[in-house]
Symmetry: C2
Subunit: 347 residues, 2 copies
DNA sequence: ACCAATCATTGCAACGTTGCAATAAATGCG
DNA sequence: CGCATTTATTGCAACGTTGCAATGATTGGT
C-alpha cells in the first residue's frame, strides 16, 4: 500500500475526486476538526507531534482552505480590489500596475479583483459598493484627487486602502505617489541649465492632486530661476490625436513660442513633438523638451528627448505592500511613500 | 413613524449598522427564512402577495445576497477570472480588455478577478489553481497557442472558459478571435493593389495560433497575386527599442528591400517606421506600410500609414458575453465568433 | 362533509470554517 | 495519593445560503 506519494498529490485530492477539507484531514489523522483547524493555524497549545501529523496529512491531500468557508466565518475575503479609474493617459498604465500588484500578492492568500470604472463620478459608487458589501479586505485607488471623495468615504468607514496619489486631507492615510514635485523641479532645472528662458508645461487632468503639485512646484522653480513659465491644461483633448499634434504645430509657429517644454504625459508628448517637427522646430536646439515616461515608446521615436521615468510596475508593487500592511493593522501614517523620478538625460 | 424612505436605504441597512441578510427580511415580514430565500429567487409556488411583500422589504433594507454564503452553499463563485498572459505587444491591450469585460459584467452578479501571469509556462499552473480550488465560474485566457495547454486542461475538466484566439484542437471550445486571416489577406491585397511586388511581413510571438493563421494566409495570398513574400518573426526583440528601430534602418539600406511591409504590432511598426525614415525611405512612395492597430498612437505619429484596426475593448465585451453564456450551459460550438478587421486606408 | 389533491409555507441539514467553553489527560505539589 | 493546575484536545454553535422533505392551508369533487 502506497503511503505517501508527493507526485500523486498533483490534481488528486482524496480517494474520491472531491476537494480536501478539514474533515478529510480529520479523518486521515483521527484528530478532531477543531484540532486540525487549530493546528493548521499554528495553535501554540498543540503537541509538536500532532502538529507534525496534521501538517503531513494536509500536504499529502494538498489541502487549501476554502475561501468561502473562511470568508463566511471570519468575514475575511482575502481579496484586494483595484478600482481602475482610467481615462489614463499613461501608456500601459493598467498593465504595469496590475503586474506589480500581481507580483506583490504572489505567495499570499490574496486575490486581485479589478473594478473598472471609467466614469470618474461613478467610481465613488464602486467604492461604496465594496464597503457596503464587504467585498474586499482592502482597496487600491488611482488618479487620486486633492479632496477625493473615495478617500473620504473609506476614511469615514475606517476601511483599509491605499491611494496612488496624495490628498489634501488632514487625517493621514496610506498612499504611494510619484514625486511630482521632484519631477517638476528636476525638469525645470534641467531646462534652465541647458539654456531655456521661457518654459511651457503641459499637464493633463486638472482634477488630480498631482496636477496641483506639479503646477505649484513648476511655478516656484521657474520663479527661483528667474525665467518665465506658462501652464497649459490639456484635459478635454485626446492625448493621441491629430488635434494634439496640431497643438504642437501651432506652437511651433508662434512668435513667442517657448524654448523649453515639459509634458507630464508620454502620449501627449509624442503627439506634440510630431507637431513641433511639422512646424520645422529642431528639437534640442530650437526647443528643449522633457517628458514623463512610463513606457519606452517615446524614447524609441525620439531618442534624443530627455525623459523622466515613472515606474508604474514598482508603484503597483509598493501600493500592494503598503495595503497589506495596512490591512494587518499598521497605522496609516507609517504607510506613506514616494517614488523618486529617474532622469534619463540624452545627449 | 416613517414607513418607507427609499433615500434612507442608502448606506443604512438595518436599525443597527449590520448588513441585511435573509434573516433581516424574514423578521421584517414575519415569513420564514426559506420562504424569503425562495421568493427572492422567484419561487413559482409563492402567492403573489408574499412575493410583493418580500421584494418590498428587500428593497427597503437594501438586501444583497452574501457572496460567501451563496458560494459555500452552491459552489457558485460569481467570479470570472482573466488570466493575463502578457508579454503583450499591443498598446493598452490590458486596459481595453479589462474595460470591455467590466462593461459586460456590469449589472450582473459577477466580479472580475485578474491573475497576471507573465511567465507563460507558469500560466498553466494558474489555470490549474483555478480549477482545483474552484476559484471562479469561468476563465478568459488570451494569447492562445495552437495547442494551448491551458485550453487542453480546461477542456479535460469540462470547465467553462473562452479563449481570445483559436486553437487546433478537434473538440470545439468557446472562443472569440480577431480574424487574422482576413487581416493578412486584406493587407496583401491592398499592397498589391497599390503596386507592391515584394512584401515583407513582420510577425511577433510564434507560439500563438494567430501567428500560423497570419503566415499561412499571407503566403497563400501573395502566391495568388503572383508576387513575392517573406516572413520575419520578431520574437526575442523588444517591440519598442533602438534595436527594433535599427531593424527598419537596415531594411532601408538593403538593395533588395521590399516595397511593401505588413506588421501585426503597432509598437513594432512605430519603431520600424522610424528606422525606415532614418534610412531615407519615403513612406507611401518607396515603401508602402500596413499595420494592425489597437490604439491611436501610430496614426498620430504616422497619419499616412494604412492601418487595420483591432478593437480590443469589443473583444473584451464579446469574450465575456460568450463566457457567461457558456457558464449558463450553452454548448461550446455555438459560442465561437470572429471580429472582422476594420481597414483605415489613408491617402 | 369528508378525502384527495393542489397550493403555500416551513424546518432542517448541510456547505467549510473558526472561536469559545468544556472536557480529558498529564503534570505539579503538599 | 488526592487535589489543583497546566497542557492538550474536543464539541458546539454560528456565519448566510439553499434544497428537500414535510407540514399546514386551501380548494375541488363526490
Amino acid at each position: 500500500m502506497t503511503k505517501f506519494r508527493p507526485e500523486a498529490s498533483r490534481g488528486i485530492r482524496k480517494p474520491s475526486g472531491k476537494r480536501a477539507t478539514l474533515k478529510t484531514i480529520s479523518e486521515l489523522t483521527g484528530l478532531s476538526l477543531s484540532t486540525v483547524s487549530l493546528s493548521l493555524r499554528g495553535g501554540a497549545s498543540l503537541k509538536e507531534e500532532t502538529r507534525q501529523k496534521v501538517a503531513e496529512a494536509a500536504a499529502q491531500v494538498g489541502y487549501v482552505p476554502d475561501r468561502a468557508g473562511v470568508r463566511l466565518r471570519t468575514g475575511k475575503t482575502n481579496v484586494i480590489a483595484l478600482v481602475l479609474d482610467g481615462s489614463d493617459e499613461a501608456i500601459d498604465f493598467s498593465r504595469h500596475m496590475i503586474r506589480g500588484i500581481g507580483d506583490a500578492i504572489g505567495g499570499t492568500r490574496y486575490h486581485l479583483t479589478v473594478m473598472p470604472e471609467f466614469d470618474r463620478s461613478r467610481s465613488v459608487e464602486t467604492v461604496r459598493y465594496i464597503l457596503e458589501n464587504r467585498t474586499a479586505d482592502g482597496v487600491i485607488i488611482t488618479h487620486t484627487g486633492a479632496r477625493d471623495r473615495r478617500v473620504q468615504l473609506m476614511m469615514d468607514h475606517d476601511f483599509p486602502f491605499v491611494s496612488h496619489g496624495r490628498t489634501e486631507f488632514f487625517t493621514p492615510h496610506a498612499f504611494h505617489d510619484f514625486h511630482s514635485e521632484a519631477f517638476a523641479e528636476l525638469a525645470v532645472e534641467r531646462l534652465a541649465d541647458t539654456g531655456a528662458r521661457d518654459i511651457l508645461i503641459s499637464v493633463g487632468d486638472g482634477t488630480t492632486n498631482n496636477y496641483h503639485n506639479i503646477v505649484r512646484t513648476f511655478e516656484r522653480t521657474v520663479a527661483r530661476r528667474g525665467i518665465t513659465g506658462r501652464v497649459v491644461v490639456q484635459d478635454g483633448i485626446r492625448p493621441a490625436s491629430a488635434e494634439m499634434r496640431q497643438f504642437g504645430r501651432d506652437l511651433a509657429d508662434k512668435p513667442d513660442r517657448p524654448d523649453g517644454i515639459i509634458c507630464d504625459s508620454e502620449t501627449r508628448a509624442i503627439s506634440m513633438l510630431c507637431g513641433l517637427e511639422d512646424g520645422g522646430v529642431l528639437l534640442g536646439r530650437d526647443i528643449r523638451f522633457i517628458c514623463k515616461q512610463t513606457s519606452d515608446i517615446l524614447s524609441t521615436v525620439f531618442p534624443n528627448v530627455d525623459t523622466i521615468e515613472e515606474d508604474v510596475y514598482a508603484a503597483g508593487l509598493e501600493l500592494t505592500r503598503l495595503l497589506l500592511r495596512r490591512i494587518d493593522g499598521e497605522p496609516a501614517e507609517s504607510l506613506q511613500t514616494l517614488s523618486e523620478p529617474v532622469a534619463h538625460w540624452r545627449s
